[in-house]
């Protein structure tokens, strides 16, 4: 389902508003790192990925693994808007008995390809999916989204080494490089910079872009498809809490829910038709 950049920017607004609304309703969750990844998720789910809400388990579909599982709200907003489940479910996020768990669960939620939440593991699962694609000579592609703070997990680098060892050019990882983790600036908590050079040293094709520029995201995805024998990482410079003025670049909004008043202000700032 190809869309123009203009159309995608409108979808991004819808996702942003759904994120703010569902977190206000659930009174807990992770807005900062969900809002920073909106353009990446919009481009994947509304422009790029070969997926079908009517046939979630099609073996030939593209896969997505949310390695930074705490950004579940952006995944849920995308899946609901894409028609995988009713939008009303978003308002039950994190509530007892609801399908939308605090972190993604593949058995409860249509369209979720892998249960994640424990950092560092999602990229390994994506490597497994990409390996399966190679073993079966399938054309599908595998996408995963990592946080920059998540790069502190040693398993990320185990998986990274493994992906280049097996020449998984069907795997594209995005790093949501918003510069902040729970305890603050990533360079102060545990410096993972330079991200690009690390991935390059591990044998990956590296693309660095503005993670809010939909056209740049589209181009990066297409470039990755033409790489012959390497996985690709798209290091996306982003703004944590993007689109909501009082949340932008504030580590405090990593895992805090907005009040009703803050929600109203946020929705007004994001704007859009719907």
């Amino acid at each position: 389902m190809k869309k123009t950049c203009e159309e995608l920017r409108e979808v991004a607004k819808i996702l942003r508003k759904d994120i703010v609304k569902m977190l206000t309703e659930s009174k807990s969750g992770h807005p900062g790192g969900s809002l920073s990844a909106v353009e990446i998720m919009t481009t994947l789910y509304f422009d790029e990925m070969n997926i079908n809400p009517e046939n979630c388990s099609n073996p030939d579909r593209d896969r997505f693994v949310l390695s930074k599982g705490h950004a579940a709200p952006v995944l849920y907003a995308a899946l609901a808007e894409r028609g995988f489940f009713a939008k009303e479910e978003l308002m039950k996020l994190r509530k007892t008995g609801a399908i939308l768990q605090g972190h993604p669960n593949m058995n409860y939620i249509p369209g979720v390809d892998m249960s994640t939440g424990s950092l560092g593991q999602g990229i390994s699962a994506a490597v497994g999916m990409a390996l399966a694609g190679k073993l079966d000579n399938k054309e599908y592609r595998v996408y995963t989204l990592l946080g920059d703070g998540e790069l502190g997990e040693g398993q990320v680098w185990e998986a990274t080494m493994c992906a280049s060892h097996y020449k998984l050019n069907n795997l594209t990882a995005f790093v949501d490089f918003n510069g902040l983790q729970i305890d603050g600036d990533i360079t102060k908590v545990m410096n993972s910079l330079p991200i690009d050079e690390k991935f390059e040293a591990f044998g990956w094709n590296v693309i660095c872009i503005d993670g809010h520029d939909i056209e740049a995201i589209k181009n990066a995805i297409n470039e990755a498809k033409n790489v012959k024998d390497k996985p690709t990482v798209v290091v996306c410079k982003t703004i944590k809490g993007k689109g909501v003025s009082f949340m932008e670049n504030q580590a405090g909004w990593h895992g805090a829910a907005p009040s009703k008043e803050q929600c109203e202000q946020a929705l007004a700032e994001i704007g859009g038709d719907k």
């Binding site: 892998m114 424990s118 699962a125 390996l131 073993l135």
Partner: protein, 314 residues
Amino acid sequence: MMKKIATREAYGNTLAEIGKQNENIVVLDADLSKSTKTAVFKGECPERFLNMGIAEGNMMTVAAGLATCGKIPFASTFAIFAAGRAFEQIRNSIAYPKLNVKVCATHAGITVGEDGASHQAIEDISLMRSIPNMVVICPSDAVEASAAVKAVAEYNGPCYVRLGRLGVNVINDNQEYKFEMGKAVKLREGNEVAIIATGMMVDAALEAYNILAEEGIKARVINIHTIKPIDEDAIAAAARDCGVIVTAEEHSVIGGLGSAVAEVVTSTYPVPVLRVGVKDTFGESGSPVELLEKYGLTADEIVKAVKKGLELRK
């Protein structure tokens, strides 16, 4: 002289056998394929053998990813690195999403021998059985290991299979032998005491039976190859019929078979349960047989526990 075969040998051979028949089977190892015997599979199906290098956490989650695409991954390394190091990957990426991954861990228990305590997993049964959705199997010999590997390949869901390094007596090589996941095997009839054992300690339990029989004590010997889901009926019946139970395992007395049996007994038919196993201590380097003696994992130790149990029952 009974022939001795390590359960890991049976694992490697069986894996190669079923791997040739089922194209969905893929095998992952963490640079230990010659020791875990997955190299036998590699020899037969090299394209479906994936060496993950020395990175067990990644290996478990890669296996999970493969399972989401319809593969039947067997992931192998030593028990300490599977159940221990990669515990959380197994919990969150395999068991929580209930993915069809078979964690087949070799070199469990102190019979690892000379490599010493760092490599001797005595906590793995405890760790693995505490995870929801997990099946835990500890075969008593090569025949049972082979049957267990075939059974877990057929079963759809996460499994942990505990295998040993040391060659152990073949005790199940007979026409009647049948492996049913979750079903205990009664090896000897008796109503005075029940000896419930798992893994290589089943052989020691049979030896203890002979010693006790000479003294006129008739023991029931039960082999629990599936520690989870455990055969509650067989354990409750043993408690009711015998009035005292001795458990035996090459594992810590905390959290393993002994604990699992005690949990069933206390909530069905409470009787004394005495646990033979490693007594909350680390092992050490040494020859496997000497270590078994030193750490009390012998038929004599089972006999001692039986006598203590019979006293308690009075």
